[in-house]
Subunit: 332 residues, 2 copies
């Protein structure tokens, strides 16, 4: 029997948990469980009961599998923590203490776990870009974030942003307005049928950002031969660089990473992106992400368990609490 | 007792009906009734039963008031006719024939009644711009339309478009991204509270375009001193001119009118708009709209009743049918 940590990533595609230890030969992650069910968001925000209901059986199974029977530290990276995390902050630490004897709990915004997964505990900026887009940066004294405002108010340069701009260009061509693109119109009609039916396929859907984002790869596919599509990707690259620049620390040679599904767009986006980043942040080193959000949660947990966490604390970004009733590792 | 026409405007703010005659001294509209309840849209599109349920008592009251006891011609201008008008086209003419003895029925898109209200039966282009935006033009042989695709796919330059761009600029400033505006951020926080709460005030709403559009006047109010706000209105003016140019007939000296609530934005929009229209359509004569959509429905009804309607027919734009069973005036 040995004690260890539990690192959790809760997002739109479900819950993932890793157990590990920081002592002896088993240093680092030992085993992992996934649940495909996203944690519910109710009127009080992210539902702590629903999260615990999924996490407990996963934790017990991981305990049986690895022989790690006590979790001194639990780190939960959660999408929506900044704006929807009140109930989680109020109830999760106590519930984890009661059910699993946990003493130190950290709640991290998913953008923070993405950051730490990508760069580790180093100064820099990470742009997490998929259907949406958020940038997080730190100089190791405070966190900064930019965008992440959703498809109507921002997420500039995201998959939904690119796809929406592509569909607008298709309809401009359909109408005979300036700025239209015949190749994008052809792909939009191939994908969604005649243009007149497009509104009916977008507006009634609850997952409008995903529907818009599903057209982004078509924009990338047209970019080599179509200046309108290439212009959309250039503008998206500029928006990504704007967000990176807004959160990147001023001094030193900060690292900058872009993570997330948007990277699958390939060169049509990545070539203008590297140019725009070089223009906007000439001193930054653009690096490949070392890992994903779950890796980030593991790194935070390891840092907390060994008392070596060198990241700033902030209720909405990375919040560490020691549950009363027993001496536990103390956060920064 | 004399026969006449019924002209109807059905839109988001309810149903309005006018009765009139084309013979004798009472030429033109005689009386009007309004109903504040918008006609329902169901799974089959605009609900013909719900429209008839409201229209019949209005028609009977108008008949009592004016002494016009028979309606040879009924014109219904309806929002959404192009995409949601199938049930209306299938059922309304028969229902009007049964209940009111009507012989000629015209169904017009609200953009067409707006056009005819603004310019009469003349060649030109009309941009109807409020929360949304649609442009309609004709050379008197066919109708053309541009935009009207809604707040995610188009409505470029509309109130929702301007307000959304203004809120994005406010949040850019909040994040420290390029292109932000301090005056717009101040007005957004005055209006919606701290920026962090803005997504929660927009995304859960069913009337998101209206919420976005409600911020458009703040953009106009900032434009004199804020180059970001002025740039948004300049871009909106360009989009309006794009749509006007796409539908405007090529020959002659076409008339161009802009109608709708967006005109209330005043000079901050109208000055760049007149410049952009002059650039894009140098031969067009920008004119003030003569009337609104209900005036357009009256003009179409008068033209049909007197056999002088000189507008092109088109199922989705202006569709005229003579109900079998009696000789009635014939449309174009």
């Amino acid at each position: 029997m040995s004690t260890g940590f539990l690192a959790v990533d809760s997002g739109g595609s479900g819950l993932r948990a890793v157990v590990g230890t920081t002592d002896g030969d088993g240093h680092g992650p030992l085993a992992r469980r996934d649940s495909p069910e996203p944690v519910r968001t109710g009127p009080r925000g992210i539902d702590p009961g629903h999260l615990m209901g999924q996490l407990l059986p996963m934790a017990r199974a991981l305990s049986d599998e690895t022989g790690v029977t006590g979790f001194g530290t639990v780190v939960v990276g959660a999408a929506g923590l900044a704006t929807l995390g009140d109930a989680l902050r109020a109830e999760l630490p106590g519930a984890l203490a009661r059910e699993l004897g946990v003493r130190t709990v950290a709640l991290a915004a998913d953008a923070v776990t993405a950051y730490v997964g990508a760069l580790g505990p180093r100064a820099g900026a990470v742009v997490a870009a998929g259907t949406g887009l958020i940038a997080v940066g730190t100089d190791l004294t405070r966190w900064r974030r930019a965008d992440g405002w959703g498809h109507l108010l921002g997420d500039c340069g995201s998959g939904a942003w690119i796809g929406r701009a592509g569909l607008e260009a298709a309809l401009r061509r359909h109408d005979g307005r300036e700025g239209g693109s015949a190749p994008l119109l052809a792909r939009a009609e191939e994908r969604f049928g005649p243009a007149a039916g497009l509104p009916g396929q977008v507006y009634p859907r609850a997952d409008r950002p995903a529907v818009l984002g599903s057209f982004a790869p078509e924009v990338a596919a047209c970019a080599a031969d179509d200046p309108v599509a290439a212009g959309i990707l250039r503008a998206a690259a500029r928006h990504l660089a704007d967000s990176a620049a807004a959160v990147c620390p001023a001094g030193g040679e900060p690292r900058v990473a872009v993570t997330g599904g948007l990277l699958r767009m390939g060169d049509p986006l990545l070539v203008p992106l590297s140019e725009e980043l070089a223009k906007r942040l000439p001193r930054a080193r653009w690096t490949v992400a070392e890992g994903g959000p779950l890796d980030g949660a593991v790194r935070i947990a390891t840092g907390l368990a060994t008392g070596s966490l060198a990241l700033p604390s902030d209720e909405r970004m990375l919040w560490v609490t020691t549950v009363p009733g027993g001496p536990g590792p103390v956060g920064p």
